[in-house]
């Protein structure tokens, strides 16, 4: 039944669904996991690096995380080629805004622009939607640290913590229980706690294999008050390995504790 209504973006199905957009969202569920967590003094973006071959020599710093401007960065889940187009669009827009207003673009404005661009490929005929979801992390003077998720339909939402890519359901359920926040009676995690939480979530979503510094990339976005600029730091192998080991130790300690109690 869906087959009659799913070959064109510009056709609704009788149930009122846009199948092409939904298929695009499906494409992302096969991509490497991306986790974003809002901390009290920064934002953590953790990504699973899915290198298809050891012979690959990637000239860029990362093929999952990209800076969009001095104060906004993003990580990608989905078709890399589609993502490259959108990232360039976003960088252009951020630059144009700053050129016009001599002020950094507010994070939501950039998210909205990217999403409107994505949306136009779901409404005007002939072109397929972008098979990409982003997690955008940024800081602006109005709303401070923000984390947004975008999907191929052109929808976006702000999050305190979220997961996209493969096994995101499992990841999100773990975040729901583990992410402490003022509204739930807990406190927002610090960056270190957020990093450890991200590794825990990756351990769960990575299908049996444990997170390690070769398979995982950790980025932290913070703000240097003195220089009045944002710092995008991709943790080195040594630093990420340290976080992974801390998580291992805590997991082992927990396991040991439960044994003692019973």
């Amino acid at each position: 039944m869906a087959r009659r209504y799913d070959s064109s973006t510009t056709t609704f199905s009788p149930e009122g669904r846009l199948h092409q957009v939904e298929y695009a969202i499906e494409a992302i569920n096969n991509a490497g996991t991306c986790i974003g967590i809002l901390a009290s003094d920064g934002i953590v973006l953790a990504t699973e690096k899915r290198s298809t071959s050891s012979l690959l020599a990637v000239p860029k710093t990362s093929d999952k995380t990209y800076p969009l401007s001095s104060h906004i960065t993003c990580c990608v889940a989905g078709l890399t080629a589609d993502a490259n187009m959108l990232i360039d669009q976003a960088r252009l827009r951020a630059g144009q805004y700053e050129y016009q207003y001599q002020h950094s673009i507010p994070v939501e404005q950039l998210v909205e622009h990217v999403c409107n661009y994505k949306h136009s490929y779901t409404q005007y005929g002939g072109l397929r939607p972008f098979g990409v979801s982003f997690l955008l992390a940024g800081w602006d003077p109005i709303h401070k640290y923000q984390l947004y998720q975008t999907d191929p339909s052109g929808n976006y939402s702000g999050w305190k913590a979220t997961v996209i890519g493969s096994n995101n359901q499992a990841g999100k359920s773990l975040l729901k229980t583990e992410y402490g926040d003022e509204s739930e009676g807990g406190t927002m995690p610090t960056i270190n706690e957020a990093l450890k939480l991200a590794i825990k979530v990756l351990n769960k979503t990575m299908d049996g294999t444990l997170a390690s510094s070769e398979k995982v990339e950790l980025l932290v976005l913070t703000r240097d008050e003195e220089l009045d600029e944002c710092v995008h730091k991709i943790l080195s192998e040594v630093e990420s390995q340290a976080i992974v080991q801390e998580v291992e130790k805590e997991a082992a300690a927990e396991a040991a504790a439960t044994v003692v109690v019973s």
Binding site: P67, S69, S70, L92, G95, E98, Y99
Partner: protein
């Protein structure tokens, strides 16, 4: 209204064309057709002024031994009137690359913003810093794009390439580049600046000597120019970092 002779103004106007009552814009138009005009009514001399001399500027850049210096004056004027004594015309693009822009102030500001935009995009896309030659070519391209309605700026580029060698270049308002090994100048007193530089310049100066030479050349040149001066600023770019110093000279 009646004038002294008792005849009405309208009659007088018909007879005497040189006292035509015309709007200010029309007057300016007629003035622009003649280089200078004496007006019996206004008793003011209007002179055709080049748009590049409307605000006033003086910029010199010089090469030393593994270092470059770039200096500019601080004046912003509207023809003869001085409006600001702290108008910066030299801008940092990267830690090793500075651009000085001389000419119409609004275009100086706009082009600085454009260059910053293009530089940010370059660094995001290519994940590396722009080298001076690349920036010079970019700026030349930006200026030539407006070939038939140009930006009224004459830029000066000073920087160190990735090997640490000095790079100097200048171009005219439509992007004709000129790379040199010794010094480049731009502004309203280029005659003075060329004379001073030619006299004071020696090759392979160290950072301290370079500063002295630049400062003296700039101050002496701008002293004899009405449209530039009010102090200056000198940036000396070395592989270790940049030292910027303010100059105080004749405050006129």
């Amino acid at each position: 209204a009646r004038n002294k002779k008792g005849t009405r103004n309208e009659t007088r106007e018909r007879k005497d064309q040189s006292h035509l009552r015309i709007s200010r814009e029309l007057f300016e138009y007629y003035v622009s057709r003649n280089k200078s005009i004496f007006s019996r009514r206004y008793r003011i001399k209007f002179e055709e002024m080049s748009i590049l001399e409307y605000n006033g500027a003086a910029i010199i850049a010089m090469a030393g031994k593994n270092c470059v210096g770039i200096a500019s004056d601080n004046r912003l004027g509207i023809q003869a009137q001085t409006v600001a004594m702290d108008f910066k015309k030299v801008f940092k693009i990267t830690d090793r690359l500075y651009v000085g822009l001389a000419g119409l102030a609004t275009d100086v500001q706009t082009l600085e913003q454009m260059l910053r935009f293009r530089n940010n995009l370059y660094e995001l896309r290519e994940e590396r810093k722009m080298s001076p030659k690349v920036l010079s070519n970019l700026l030349s391209h930006l200026l030539y794009e407006k070939r038939f309605g140009p930006w009224f700026v004459e830029p000066v580029i000073a920087g160190l390439d990735d090997k640490g060698n000095p790079y100097l270049s200048t171009m005219d308002l439509i992007g004709a580049q000129c790379e040199t090994k010794d010094f480049v100048v731009s502004g309203t007193c280029t005659g003075n600046m060329y004379g001073m530089c030619e006299t004071l310049f020696r090759p392979n100066m160290d950072a301290e000597d370079l500063f002295e030479t630049l400062a003296q050349a700039l101050m002496s040149s701008t002293d004899r120019d009405a449209l530039s001066g009010w102090g200056g600023v000198v940036h000396i770019i070395t592989p270790e970092g940049v030292i910027s110093r303010e100059l105080k000279g004749r405050q006129d």
